[in-house]
Amino acid sequence: MMETLLHDNFGIIEEIQILSDVRLVGNRDLNPLSFTDYIKVQFEIKGNVKGFVFCYLDLEDKELTVAEKNYLLPLFLETMNILLGQQVSKSYNTTGDLRLSPPKIVSSKSPFTTNGKRNPVQKYSLELRTISFEVAIEYNLERLN
């Protein structure tokens, strides 16, 4: 697993700001997460560490219009792209050369939960003006020797 990447970078990225007065991603303590209504985006990582990173945006209990969802998805994609890009870049000294794929939206009906999951999961919140969304990032990675 990419323990070094994860552990070295927990806490490094406190927040990402894309729009001037909107805090998009904040790091949070890792607590069990469980939800069934979400957007799932997949990134592939290649290099000395390979595998997939899955990003889940929890939509449960959120009453969003279609227009709001259409706005939220690209915002989420770009935010995760930047967040993972920074994690990959900052882990370079310990993990070597890594390449990040473009994001891919994955359609899935399976519920997401961190309970009993074997892959490391990082929890964030994405704050868009007055609304806060739970975000879980699941790392399914393997180090190559």
Partner: protein
Amino acid sequence: MNLKREDLKILLVDDSDFSRQLIKTMLKEEGFVVSAEANSAESALGSIKESNPHVMITDIVMPQVSGIELTEKVTQNFDDISVIVISSLSQEHVVLEAIGAGARDFIAKPIQKQQIVDSLDKLIQEING
């Protein structure tokens, strides 16, 4: 020549519509105009002759052809087009690859407006001689 910000022809290449919109808005606030856009390297190469840009701003991570390969092709085939590379990846070797491919500047995402404005202003100064 007395090129001004609004006269600079900018080709913006990024597979993310959101990212392109964000950069366009950011540049518009500072008086720049994105004169052409592309969501892939192939599309960018196809539009270059028509849009005849002074500068191409390109992302790195894109499907099929990367921004690094695009930068190489553009700088090898179009002497008068400058390239600024933007990316969420900022490892030293990625920056060096971009510069090695001919990019004049590298800007890490999330983009700070002043960085991109400074880079474009410097280009205008060079063009104006």
